[in-house]
Every structure is written in structure tokens, then in C-alpha cells.
Amino acid sequence: MEKKLLSITEAASLLGVSRITFNKIRKEKAFTEVPVGQRVRFYRDEIMATLQPNNQSVAPAGSTKRNIILNVFSHDTIGDIEFKKDTFDLTALKQIDPYGAVSLLCVILEKVRSGSRVHLIVDEGLVCQTLKAHQFFLQVEARCEGKVSWDKKILYGSTFHDNTMLMPITAVTNKGTERSLAEELVVLLRKQGFHDSVGRGIAQIIGELADNAMTHSAQALGDRICWVSAQRFLYREKNCVIVGLADPGLGIFSTLKTKAEYKALTDSQALLKAFRPFVTSWEAARGKGLTDVLGIALGNNSYMHADVCNLSLQMDFHDGSNPEIKFGTPLADVTGTRFGLILIDNYFVKKSREEVDKMLEEKERQI
């Protein structure tokens, strides 16, 4: 396989230094210089090898796994691109979906909130261009007040347009905004030929989850905020919509366990129970939104992940007769809640609360 070559700007960005500093380093380290036309290029692997991780829990420099995928179906995590503490190599990403993007955003924001400075390694590749088109970097800039750096020249002026994008990463800070976004999405999906039940399902999901998310982020931080994004994609030759939604609140199970009757539950028990009807940290008449969201996913034979801290509740309903619910590794181990949800384009009917509850009750017994 051909070794990847970097320009001086790219190499400097990879090391998180200026071009001037890089020119000093290249002499000290005697990097191989590959002439390309009138310029020189450097082997990426050689540059990577000079990076010494200062966090032993991350992969050693030079062995960073490439082709990392951050989506609902992936086994990789955001930890796989943090090859050095507080430095994320976005160039190692082969694919990212809205769920991956909002999860990455939450990781960066948590680091900045805890006082860290974060560096992002970017290139002109498809994933970084896609993240830019999805307004990922705008959200980072808006929320991180200069505490996150990346080489802006690399992506400056990019005119890349991602025609699969339905909704860029959008910060929802006022209740009501989520309804307008959902309405726009219904219209857009209808225009793109999706069945009405998909648009309506997505609208209800965004409405319910964003409303919950803002309530919970307000309890934890005093600010109402959540991030929503949506993208169209093709899976098993079917048109699908994937939605990513995240909030930096306490997280579902912590919130539920503030109520005395759920206090003794383990985190995983509480996370699962939160999807059952009338299970809520509020008064008894509430607690239907998450059940309804699950009813939509179940009716659509789709996929859903709910990540909270180090837990990921992963639901695979593609086999309607054998719904699979399991706990796995979340994309990001940070506070708050991240949802990744896929709806497949076809006519479907939401499953009833009773059906959802029966399925969850069985799973609870297994746990």
C-alpha cells in the first residue's frame, strides 16, 4: 500500500505545531523528505511515530488504528482516535454519521469544560470535509471559546457539499426550536420521496428526545441545550435516515435514580427501565416519550443506540420477530446522553406501549 504523504502544513498540524516549529523539528528528527515537483512531502507514519502518548491508556504512537468508523454499526470508539491525550486524529476516520459527530462533539466539550485544551488533526479528506459541511467545526468554535485548535487553512474555502445531509449539527437552545427543525425535516423527507410515516416518526422522535434533552441539560448545567443532526444513507439497498441527538445533562440513569423508588437500581437496570412506560423521575403520569420513541424504532424494524456515560443500550430490531437488546461499549464515555437512531424508508406503524413494555420486561428479567 502506498504510504501517505503530507505537506509541511499538514505535518505541522499533525504535530500540533506551527510551520516554523515544524521546520526545526524536521531537521532535528531528520524526517525523510520526498520531493514532489518543487516541494517536499513527508511520510505520515514517520511523523506519527514521533508523537509520544502521555496517556498510557491510548494506543502507542505509530500504531494508531486507521480507518476508524464512528457510526451506529461500528465497534470503534472515539478513544480510538485520541492517540495522544487531548489530541484527536480526525484523519484516521473512514466514516462518521450524525451519531458519531454529536458524540465527538460531546467528548470535546467535556474536555474543554474540565479545563483541557484540545487539538484536532484534520486533512482535506472526505470525513473532515463532511464534518465541515455538517457544521461540526462551527459548533466547536461556538462552544469552546478558542480552547480547541486545528489547522483552519486546510479546510478553509472548501466548497464541498454533502447531498446526503438532511440537517447539519444544530444546537437547540430554546424549547420550540426542535419543533421547527422537525417540521423542516418532514417536508424535506417528503420531497426526497420518503414515506410519510418515516418523516412523521422522525418528527416525533426529535420532538420528544430534544424536549427531554433540554430539560435534563438545564437541570445539570443551568442551560438548555442539545444537538441534533440528520443524514440520509443507503443501507442494505434501502434508503434510511439516521438521527444523532445529544445533551450534556446528567444522563438518563442518573436522572431516574434521583427518584427514591429507582435509587437502588444499577445503572444498566435504570437505563433499560427508563424506556418502560410511566417510568419517570417526575410524577407518575409522565414517562411515555422514550417508550413512544422505542415503539417507532420497533415498528420500523430499525436500530437505536442510547449512550450514557460508559453504558450503551444497543437495540437491533431489524428482525421483527427477534428484537435484540444488549449493552455494549458507547462511542463516547462522557456524561450526558447520546442517541443514534435509524429509520428505514417504508410504510410502518408504531408498536404499542404494551408491546414495547412486554419486550423490555423480558429483557429486564434476563438482566
Partner: protein, 91 residues
Amino acid sequence: MNTVNLVRYGAVLTGREFGKDVFLSLKREFKFPLVLDFAGVEAVGSSFGDEVVPKVAAEQGNVIKILNANEDVRATLKDIEHDSGIKVEIE
């Protein structure tokens, strides 16, 4: 009976707080009994519905007539009927 076109509040009706606001608006602007017309409404969330439908029904003998609800909205209204014990007449 007064018929209220709920799409005046939006095509996606979700959120408990918003439901409370809508109910107050209905009380302020209309004389009960009311018929709720969902033409143009794409989705209704349970929390929104809980704050509007049973409360309107309570003002008119625990019965409410519904017009032009799509299949997904009907499903939510049926859940509300089941949970609250009101009678929802869907046309």
C-alpha cells in the same frame, strides 16, 4: 361546537410545556365545547397530547371529537384515551 385547527400551533406538536401553553390559549380564545381538527398536523407527542386532549375533554363531559388525524396522530390519541379514561371520537 367550535372547531379549532390545531395546525395554527404547528405541524409538529410535542413538548409538555408547549401543550400547557396551547391549552391555556384554547381556553382564552375559544368557547367550549371544542372539536379538534388535526388537518396538516404531522406528529403529536404524548406529553403534548396529555396537556391538551384530556383537559379539553374535561371541560365538555370527558368527550372530545377529532377530525382529520393521520394514522400516527390517531395512534397517539388512542394511547391518550386509554391512559386518561376520556372518550375520543375520531372521524
